[in-house]
Amino acid sequence: MGSFDEFDLATRMFLRAWRWRRIDPVPWTVPRRPVARARLALVSTAGFVAPGQPGFDEKVRGGDPSWRVIPAGVDPRSLREFHRSESFDHSGLAADPNLGFPLDRLREMAAAGVIGEVAPRHLSFMGSITAPGRLVRDSAPGAARLLVEDQVDLALLVPV
């Protein structure tokens, strides 16, 4: 299961000592409509890019804060994962990107009436950002504006 014990000693020590940013106050939006009528977007931190998009840059100090727009019509099997971490097994995501970007599952759930509809655009970040200043200041607000523009009701964030 997901735990610090999955990582090597240096990573464990880093994670335990890291001063995690505490969200306070915790914002809370009451969904505008029931899930079965809502428009839902995915937000992944696996560093996925769609065909033709540039990869994430692992050389950016503190982590690459950029983000990619993943169009709803993309075949999940065509997504490439650019997460820089060597601390986890990437083979599952390579075999089935739905494991971290479950677009096929959302389409099935929309067809079954579990959710209202799949949003037209989804977001991809690369996690493990150790210096999140630019992410908080620029990337997250820009990405949020895009989902607001698309009248998204709900967002599901999937880690890696």
Partner: protein, 82 residues
């Protein structure tokens, strides 16, 4: 990821974050979180297992029905009946 969730919430989009490290979620405090007992690289369980992936997604979606009084909310996958 939780920092992005917070920004979305502030802009009027409700969020659920699937999380792999419960103790990190407890520290960072995304509004709604579903902790899953899977290792890193496998956030929805197993590749090519649509039933399990769907089950995780349904558990995550159920958190949208929870009241604001529960914030910040962390629920363990499998701990509640669908």
């Amino acid at each position: 990821m939780s920092l992005v969730a917070a920004e979305l919430e502030r802009r009027g989009i409700a969020t659920v974050a699937i999380v792999l490290l419960r103790e990190v979620a407890e520290k960072v405090r995304p509004p709604r979180a579903l902790w899953v007992p899977f290792r890193h690289g496998y956030p929805l369980g197993c590749p090519d297992d649509p039933a399990l992936q769907r089950s995780v997604l349904e558990a995550a979606l159920a958190l949208f029905e929870r009241p604001e009084t529960d914030a910040p909310l962390i629920v363990d996958f499998g701990s509640e009946s669908p």
